[in-house]
Amino acid sequence: MANVTESIGARQALAPEGAASAAGAHTLHGTAAGHGHHNPNLQHHFYSMEQQLEASTLGMWVFLVTEILFFGGMFLVYLVYRMLYPEAWVLGSNHLDVAMGAINTVVLLCSSLTMVLAVRAAQVGSRQGQVINLVLTIVFGLTFLVVKYFEYAEKFEHHLVPGPNFDMTLPQAAQQQLFFSIYFMMTGIHAIHMIIGIGLMLVILWMAWRGRFSPDYYGPLEVSGLYWHFVDVVWIFLFPLLYLLGAHYGAH
């Protein structure tokens, strides 16, 4: 907080000599940060790089809270209908491919590790580390979507997609159709988040490739990482609730 008074001093000093010299341009931040030269990535409304990163992190968390409640609403719908139709939920769950769900869980956990290692690489100033780990993160993300594609394709083949082609000869078909509606809604919106995440990572990879990040400035990488981890956390709950719910009935 000592920066506050220093910065005010800097701004007052700037006023009389602002027009006189080019030095005026960097005095605004230079004094505040306590360095001779301020980081060009420091936005003018922040006092220091630390404060800028804290503000970015806070802003991302505010967004993630809205995301928690967005997904939370779907988990709530899942819970209410599961309480109403427990048998249909077990039957529906046993149509899902546990192996594929498990593979995707592992893939996402690996992607979270490479994501956090990419952020760490920026913290220690390794451009190569950022690029390698971001590429791996994107590859894991794409792997997840490919597995998801095969899962969805299988559901279409077996007439388990809600709609006119749903297999109504199944026991509790109407209720199972409801289960699959919720399955497709939750995993589909999760997959859309994955696609957005991969798009984000491509931008971040481009920035990392260009050497835009350093131990002092890696806010965009850090904040995109928070989003990526959040999407991973959603899957951590989706996997047991959708895939493993009926596993102990052994009806595979």
Partner: protein
């Protein structure tokens, strides 16, 4: 707040291994019949995994108090949403309202 300490690769890898182990535990536990307890156990393990990701991978343990409060507030409002909704669905029919 000054620079957050840089976490070692070793710590991150250990957390990742823990997450994989917990995934295996979730699967194995799900194949046994614990009656009413299957879902709570699954949610407990998922909760531990989520906490590991949030605290270590997302670095919330090194964030400012304000960011921590915001992160926890997400959970807080989630609990309110679940509690009040279940307060409705779980108690329907308790009073035996005539005509229902």
């Amino acid at each position: 707040m000054s620079h957050a300490p840089i976490t070692s690769v070793r710590t991150y890898v250990m957390v990742w291994v823990a997450l994989l182990v917990l995934t295996v535990i979730t699967y194995v536990v799900a194949t046994f019949d614990f009656g009413m307890l299957n879902a709570p156990i699954a949610l407990a393990v998922a909760g531990i995994k989520a906490a590991l990701v949030v605290l270590v991978f997302m670095g919330v343990r090194y964030n400012t108090p304000l960011t921590k409060v915001v992160a926890v507030s997400g959970l807080f409002w989630l609990v309110i949403m679940f509690a009040l909704t279940l307060n409705d669905y779980l108690t329907r029919g308790w009073l035996g309202i005539p005509g229902r």
